[in-house]
Symmetry: none
Subunit: 148 residues, 2 copies
DNA sequence: CCGGAAATCATCCGAACGGGTGACGCGCGC
DNA sequence: GCGCGCGTCACCCGTTCGGATGATTTCCGG
Protein backbone atom coordinates (compact mmCIF):
# COMPACT_ATOMS: atom_id res chain seq x y z
CA UNK A 1 0.00 0.00 0.00
CA UNK A 2 2.56 2.52 1.11
CA UNK A 3 4.84 1.27 -1.57
CA UNK A 4 2.20 1.96 -4.16
CA UNK A 5 1.66 5.48 -2.94
CA UNK A 6 5.37 6.12 -2.91
CA UNK A 7 5.69 4.73 -6.39
CA UNK A 8 2.95 6.97 -7.69
CA UNK A 9 4.51 9.94 -5.92
CA UNK A 10 7.89 9.35 -7.49
CA UNK A 11 6.30 8.74 -10.84
CA UNK A 12 4.40 11.99 -10.55
CA UNK A 13 7.60 13.81 -9.59
CA UNK A 14 9.45 12.36 -12.53
CA UNK A 15 6.65 13.36 -14.82
CA UNK A 16 6.71 16.89 -13.53
CA UNK A 17 10.44 17.09 -13.97
CA UNK A 18 10.05 15.78 -17.47
CA UNK A 19 7.35 18.28 -18.22
CA UNK A 20 9.45 21.08 -16.94
CA UNK A 21 12.40 19.99 -19.01
CA UNK A 22 10.16 19.81 -22.03
CA UNK A 23 8.62 23.12 -21.21
CA UNK A 24 11.87 24.96 -21.01
CA UNK A 25 12.99 23.55 -24.28
CA UNK A 26 10.04 23.72 -26.53
CA UNK A 27 7.34 25.66 -24.83
CA UNK A 28 7.21 29.34 -24.24
CA UNK A 29 6.10 31.00 -21.09
CA UNK A 30 2.59 31.74 -22.31
CA UNK A 31 1.85 28.07 -22.02
CA UNK A 32 2.36 28.33 -18.30
CA UNK A 33 -1.36 28.24 -17.58
CA UNK A 34 -1.77 24.85 -19.19
CA UNK A 35 1.32 23.59 -17.45
CA UNK A 36 0.11 24.94 -14.17
CA UNK A 37 -3.24 23.30 -14.73
CA UNK A 38 -1.52 20.05 -15.59
CA UNK A 39 0.53 20.19 -12.43
CA UNK A 40 -2.53 20.92 -10.38
CA UNK A 41 -4.27 18.06 -12.09
CA UNK A 42 -1.39 15.74 -11.39
CA UNK A 43 -1.19 16.76 -7.78
CA UNK A 44 -4.85 16.30 -7.22
CA UNK A 45 -4.90 13.04 -9.07
CA UNK A 46 -2.23 11.86 -6.70
CA UNK A 47 -4.25 13.22 -3.80
CA UNK A 48 -7.29 11.44 -5.16
CA UNK A 49 -5.45 8.18 -5.40
CA UNK A 50 -4.24 8.54 -1.87
CA UNK A 51 -7.67 9.56 -0.70
CA UNK A 52 -9.36 6.74 -2.56
CA UNK A 53 -7.10 4.15 -1.03
CA UNK A 54 -7.47 5.82 2.34
CA UNK A 55 -11.25 6.03 2.31
CA UNK A 56 -12.06 2.62 0.97
CA UNK A 57 -9.45 1.13 3.22
CA UNK A 58 -8.14 -2.31 2.76
CA UNK A 59 -10.80 -4.83 3.11
CA UNK A 60 -9.98 -8.04 4.81
CA UNK A 61 -11.45 -11.27 3.75
CA UNK A 62 -11.32 -13.89 6.37
CA UNK A 63 -10.99 -17.25 4.81
CA UNK A 64 -11.79 -20.03 7.18
CA UNK A 65 -10.12 -23.13 5.95
CA UNK A 66 -11.20 -26.25 7.71
CA UNK A 67 -8.36 -28.57 8.41
CA UNK A 68 -9.28 -32.12 9.14
CA UNK A 69 -7.19 -33.29 11.98
CA UNK A 70 -6.25 -36.97 12.01
CA UNK A 71 -7.34 -37.39 15.57
CA UNK A 72 -10.29 -39.58 16.47
CA UNK A 73 -13.56 -37.68 16.33
CA UNK A 74 -15.35 -37.61 19.62
CA UNK A 75 -18.55 -39.53 19.25
CA UNK A 76 -21.87 -37.79 19.73
CA UNK A 77 -24.99 -39.81 19.26
CA UNK A 78 -27.30 -38.71 16.49
CA UNK A 79 -30.36 -38.42 18.71
CA UNK A 80 -32.43 -37.02 15.87
CA UNK A 81 -31.81 -40.19 13.92
CA UNK A 82 -32.58 -42.32 16.94
CA UNK A 83 -35.84 -40.45 17.29
CA UNK A 84 -36.64 -40.74 13.60
CA UNK A 85 -36.05 -44.48 13.61
CA UNK A 86 -38.01 -44.92 16.83
CA UNK A 87 -35.21 -46.81 18.52
CA UNK A 88 -35.73 -47.37 22.24
CA UNK A 89 -32.86 -47.08 24.73
CA UNK A 90 -32.83 -50.80 25.28
CA UNK A 91 -32.67 -51.52 21.57
CA UNK A 92 -29.80 -49.07 21.22
CA UNK A 93 -28.05 -50.84 24.07
CA UNK A 94 -28.43 -54.23 22.40
CA UNK A 95 -27.15 -52.71 19.15
CA UNK A 96 -24.04 -51.58 20.96
CA UNK A 97 -23.51 -55.04 22.35
CA UNK A 98 -23.88 -56.49 18.89
CA UNK A 99 -21.37 -53.99 17.53
CA UNK A 100 -18.98 -55.06 20.27
CA UNK A 101 -18.97 -58.48 18.65
CA UNK A 102 -20.90 -60.32 21.35
CA UNK A 103 -23.11 -63.32 20.74
CA UNK A 104 -26.76 -63.41 21.70
CA UNK A 105 -25.90 -65.45 24.76
CA UNK A 106 -23.16 -63.09 25.89
CA UNK A 107 -25.44 -60.11 25.45
CA UNK A 108 -28.12 -61.86 27.48
CA UNK A 109 -25.63 -62.37 30.29
CA UNK A 110 -24.39 -58.80 30.27
CA UNK A 111 -27.86 -57.32 30.01
CA UNK A 112 -29.33 -59.67 32.63
CA UNK A 113 -32.12 -60.86 30.39
CA UNK A 114 -32.93 -64.08 28.57
CA UNK A 115 -31.59 -64.87 25.12
CA UNK A 116 -35.11 -64.66 23.77
CA UNK A 117 -35.37 -61.10 24.93
CA UNK A 118 -32.12 -60.21 23.24
CA UNK A 119 -33.39 -61.83 20.06
CA UNK A 120 -36.61 -59.84 20.25
CA UNK A 121 -34.72 -56.58 20.72
CA UNK A 122 -32.30 -57.31 17.94
CA UNK A 123 -35.15 -58.24 15.63
CA UNK A 124 -36.78 -54.89 16.32
CA UNK A 125 -33.48 -53.13 15.73
CA UNK A 126 -33.12 -54.93 12.42
CA UNK A 127 -36.54 -53.99 11.16
CA UNK A 128 -36.15 -50.38 12.29
CA UNK A 129 -32.76 -50.10 10.66
CA UNK A 130 -33.75 -52.09 7.63
CA UNK A 131 -30.98 -54.56 8.27
CA UNK A 132 -31.07 -58.29 7.68
CA UNK A 133 -27.88 -59.25 9.45
CA UNK A 134 -26.00 -58.31 12.59
CA UNK A 135 -23.05 -57.04 10.59
CA UNK A 136 -25.33 -54.92 8.45
CA UNK A 137 -27.02 -53.51 11.53
CA UNK A 138 -23.62 -52.54 12.88
CA UNK A 139 -22.60 -50.95 9.61
CA UNK A 140 -25.84 -48.96 9.40
CA UNK A 141 -25.68 -48.06 13.06
CA UNK A 142 -22.25 -46.55 12.60
CA UNK A 143 -23.25 -44.82 9.37
CA UNK A 144 -26.26 -43.27 11.12
CA UNK A 145 -24.17 -42.16 14.09
CA UNK A 146 -26.10 -44.33 16.49
CA UNK A 147 -23.03 -46.08 17.85
CA UNK A 148 -19.33 -45.09 18.04
CA UNK B 1 -16.94 -0.24 -9.16
CA UNK B 2 -19.36 1.25 -11.64
CA UNK B 3 -21.61 2.24 -8.82
CA UNK B 4 -18.74 4.04 -7.13
CA UNK B 5 -17.84 5.91 -10.29
CA UNK B 6 -21.44 6.90 -10.83
CA UNK B 7 -21.70 8.05 -7.25
CA UNK B 8 -18.60 10.16 -7.55
CA UNK B 9 -19.80 11.58 -10.84
CA UNK B 10 -23.16 12.58 -9.44
CA UNK B 11 -21.52 13.99 -6.35
CA UNK B 12 -19.15 16.01 -8.49
CA UNK B 13 -22.00 17.30 -10.62
CA UNK B 14 -23.99 18.30 -7.58
CA UNK B 15 -20.97 20.07 -6.17
CA UNK B 16 -20.39 21.95 -9.39
CA UNK B 17 -24.01 23.04 -9.51
CA UNK B 18 -23.75 24.14 -5.90
CA UNK B 19 -20.58 26.05 -6.60
CA UNK B 20 -22.14 27.75 -9.57
CA UNK B 21 -25.13 28.77 -7.52
CA UNK B 22 -22.84 30.06 -4.82
CA UNK B 23 -20.65 31.78 -7.33
CA UNK B 24 -23.45 33.72 -8.98
CA UNK B 25 -24.76 34.86 -5.66
CA UNK B 26 -21.80 35.85 -3.62
CA UNK B 27 -18.74 35.76 -5.76
CA UNK B 28 -17.76 38.12 -8.45
CA UNK B 29 -16.42 37.11 -11.76
CA UNK B 30 -12.81 37.77 -10.84
CA UNK B 31 -12.95 34.83 -8.50
CA UNK B 32 -13.55 32.59 -11.49
CA UNK B 33 -9.95 31.45 -11.56
CA UNK B 34 -10.08 30.06 -8.05
CA UNK B 35 -13.40 28.44 -8.74
CA UNK B 36 -12.11 27.00 -11.96
CA UNK B 37 -9.07 25.71 -10.15
CA UNK B 38 -11.25 24.22 -7.43
CA UNK B 39 -13.43 22.50 -9.97
CA UNK B 40 -10.42 21.15 -11.77
CA UNK B 41 -9.04 20.00 -8.45
CA UNK B 42 -12.30 18.32 -7.56
CA UNK B 43 -12.57 16.62 -10.90
CA UNK B 44 -9.04 15.36 -10.74
CA UNK B 45 -9.40 14.23 -7.19
CA UNK B 46 -12.39 12.22 -8.31
CA UNK B 47 -10.38 10.94 -11.24
CA UNK B 48 -7.58 10.10 -8.86
CA UNK B 49 -9.85 8.18 -6.59
CA UNK B 50 -11.24 6.28 -9.48
CA UNK B 51 -7.78 5.67 -10.88
CA UNK B 52 -6.43 4.63 -7.54
CA UNK B 53 -9.14 2.06 -7.05
CA UNK B 54 -8.80 0.99 -10.64
CA UNK B 55 -5.06 0.55 -10.68
CA UNK B 56 -4.45 -0.93 -7.31
CA UNK B 57 -7.55 -3.08 -7.55
CA UNK B 58 -9.47 -4.11 -4.55
CA UNK B 59 -6.67 -5.40 -2.54
CA UNK B 60 -7.84 -8.01 -0.15
CA UNK B 61 -5.80 -9.21 2.65
CA UNK B 62 -6.64 -12.83 2.94
CA UNK B 63 -6.46 -14.01 6.46
CA UNK B 64 -6.41 -17.73 6.66
CA UNK B 65 -7.65 -18.95 9.94
CA UNK B 66 -7.26 -22.65 10.21
CA UNK B 67 -9.94 -24.33 12.20
CA UNK B 68 -9.38 -27.86 13.29
CA UNK B 69 -12.44 -29.86 12.59
CA UNK B 70 -13.12 -33.23 14.16
CA UNK B 71 -13.50 -34.80 10.72
CA UNK B 72 -13.00 -38.46 10.00
CA UNK B 73 -9.44 -39.66 10.32
CA UNK B 74 -8.05 -40.88 7.05
CA UNK B 75 -7.61 -44.61 7.19
CA UNK B 76 -4.22 -46.20 6.77
CA UNK B 77 -4.01 -49.94 6.95
CA UNK B 78 -1.86 -51.39 9.68
CA UNK B 79 0.26 -53.51 7.39
CA UNK B 80 2.49 -54.60 10.24
CA UNK B 81 -0.53 -56.09 11.96
CA UNK B 82 -1.65 -57.73 8.75
CA UNK B 83 1.79 -59.26 8.44
CA UNK B 84 1.86 -60.35 12.06
CA UNK B 85 -1.51 -62.06 11.76
CA UNK B 86 -0.59 -63.63 8.44
CA UNK B 87 -3.69 -62.35 6.71
CA UNK B 88 -3.66 -62.81 2.95
CA UNK B 89 -4.99 -60.11 0.60
CA UNK B 90 -8.00 -62.20 -0.26
CA UNK B 91 -8.83 -62.78 3.37
CA UNK B 92 -8.55 -59.08 4.03
CA UNK B 93 -10.89 -58.45 1.13
CA UNK B 94 -13.47 -60.86 2.50
CA UNK B 95 -13.14 -59.21 5.90
CA UNK B 96 -13.97 -55.88 4.33
CA UNK B 97 -17.03 -57.36 2.68
CA UNK B 98 -18.13 -58.78 5.99
CA UNK B 99 -17.65 -55.39 7.65
CA UNK B 100 -19.81 -53.89 4.92
CA UNK B 101 -22.65 -56.00 6.26
CA UNK B 102 -22.87 -58.43 3.36
CA UNK B 103 -24.01 -62.03 3.64
CA UNK B 104 -21.86 -64.94 2.51
CA UNK B 105 -23.90 -65.21 -0.67
CA UNK B 106 -23.58 -61.53 -1.50
CA UNK B 107 -19.85 -61.65 -0.91
CA UNK B 108 -19.59 -64.68 -3.18
CA UNK B 109 -21.36 -62.75 -5.94
CA UNK B 110 -19.21 -59.66 -5.57
CA UNK B 111 -15.97 -61.62 -5.33
CA UNK B 112 -16.88 -63.97 -8.19
CA UNK B 113 -16.29 -67.09 -6.14
CA UNK B 114 -18.49 -69.77 -4.64
CA UNK B 115 -20.08 -69.42 -1.24
CA UNK B 116 -17.90 -72.26 -0.02
CA UNK B 117 -14.79 -70.30 -0.87
CA UNK B 118 -16.07 -67.29 1.01
CA UNK B 119 -16.77 -69.51 3.99
CA UNK B 120 -13.25 -70.93 3.84
CA UNK B 121 -11.72 -67.46 3.71
CA UNK B 122 -13.87 -66.15 6.51
CA UNK B 123 -13.06 -69.19 8.65
CA UNK B 124 -9.36 -68.51 8.20
CA UNK B 125 -9.91 -64.86 9.03
CA UNK B 126 -11.73 -65.87 12.19
CA UNK B 127 -9.02 -68.18 13.40
CA UNK B 128 -6.26 -65.68 12.58
CA UNK B 129 -8.11 -62.90 14.34
CA UNK B 130 -9.25 -65.10 17.16
CA UNK B 131 -12.86 -64.25 16.44
CA UNK B 132 -15.81 -66.57 16.73
CA UNK B 133 -18.41 -64.39 15.01
CA UNK B 134 -18.61 -62.06 12.05
CA UNK B 135 -19.41 -59.10 14.25
CA UNK B 136 -16.45 -59.89 16.46
CA UNK B 137 -14.19 -60.17 13.44
CA UNK B 138 -15.36 -56.75 12.29
CA UNK B 139 -14.80 -55.26 15.73
CA UNK B 140 -11.30 -56.74 15.99
CA UNK B 141 -10.52 -55.79 12.40
CA UNK B 142 -11.33 -52.17 13.13
CA UNK B 143 -9.49 -52.22 16.44
CA UNK B 144 -6.40 -53.61 14.71
CA UNK B 145 -6.58 -51.05 11.92
CA UNK B 146 -7.11 -53.69 9.28
CA UNK B 147 -10.26 -52.12 7.92
CA UNK B 148 -11.59 -48.53 7.91
C1' DC C 1 11.63 -79.24 -10.57
C1' DC C 2 9.79 -79.51 -6.18
C1' DG C 3 7.74 -77.68 -1.86
C1' DG C 4 4.88 -74.44 0.08
C1' DA C 5 1.68 -70.63 0.22
C1' DA C 6 -2.54 -69.04 -1.58
C1' DA C 7 -6.86 -69.49 -3.67
C1' DT C 8 -10.47 -72.27 -5.00
C1' DC C 9 -14.43 -75.59 -4.19
C1' DA C 10 -16.72 -79.22 -1.69
C1' DT C 11 -19.36 -81.88 2.11
C1' DC C 12 -21.14 -82.55 6.73
C1' DC C 13 -23.03 -81.06 11.02
C1' DG C 14 -24.11 -78.51 15.02
C1' DA C 15 -24.69 -73.89 16.64
C1' DA C 16 -26.24 -69.41 15.97
C1' DC C 17 -29.16 -66.31 13.77
C1' DG C 18 -33.50 -64.14 11.79
C1' DG C 19 -38.57 -64.02 11.18
C1' DG C 20 -43.01 -64.68 12.86
C1' DT C 21 -46.19 -64.87 16.42
C1' DG C 22 -48.15 -64.69 20.96
C1' DA C 23 -48.19 -63.31 25.63
C1' DC C 24 -47.51 -60.76 30.17
C1' DG C 25 -46.42 -56.92 33.28
C1' DC C 26 -45.38 -52.12 34.14
C1' DG C 27 -45.69 -47.21 33.95
C1' DC C 28 -47.65 -43.15 31.86
C1' DG C 29 -50.97 -40.07 29.87
C1' DC C 30 -55.72 -39.18 28.27
C1' DG D 1 -59.48 -47.15 34.02
C1' DC D 2 -57.97 -47.93 29.39
C1' DG D 3 -54.83 -47.84 25.80
C1' DC D 4 -50.17 -47.64 24.50
C1' DG D 5 -45.25 -48.02 24.43
C1' DC D 6 -41.73 -50.55 26.34
C1' DG D 7 -39.42 -54.39 28.10
C1' DT D 8 -39.68 -59.04 28.98
C1' DC D 9 -40.00 -64.10 27.75
C1' DA D 10 -41.32 -68.13 24.94
C1' DC D 11 -41.78 -71.40 20.89
C1' DC D 12 -41.21 -72.73 16.12
C1' DC D 13 -38.99 -72.97 11.78
C1' DG D 14 -35.98 -72.07 8.13
C1' DT D 15 -31.63 -69.96 6.99
C1' DT D 16 -27.12 -68.74 7.84
C1' DC D 17 -22.95 -69.27 10.09
C1' DG D 18 -18.86 -71.55 11.99
C1' DG D 19 -15.81 -75.63 12.49
C1' DA D 20 -13.56 -79.53 10.69
C1' DT D 21 -11.65 -81.75 6.93
C1' DG D 22 -10.17 -82.84 2.33
C1' DA D 23 -9.03 -81.82 -2.40
C1' DT D 24 -7.31 -79.27 -6.62
C1' DT D 25 -4.98 -75.60 -9.10
C1' DT D 26 -1.76 -71.93 -9.61
C1' DC D 27 2.18 -69.49 -8.76
C1' DC D 28 6.60 -68.46 -6.76
C1' DG D 29 11.18 -69.20 -4.77
C1' DG D 30 14.87 -72.27 -3.61
Amino acid sequence: MRKAVLTYGLLGGALIALLQAVQYRYLVVDHSLEIYGGLVALIFVALGIWLGLRITGRRERVVVREVTVPGPPEFTRNDAKVEALGLTPRELEILEFIAAGLSTREIAERAFVSENTVKTHSSRVFEKLGARRRTQAVQLGKAFGLIP
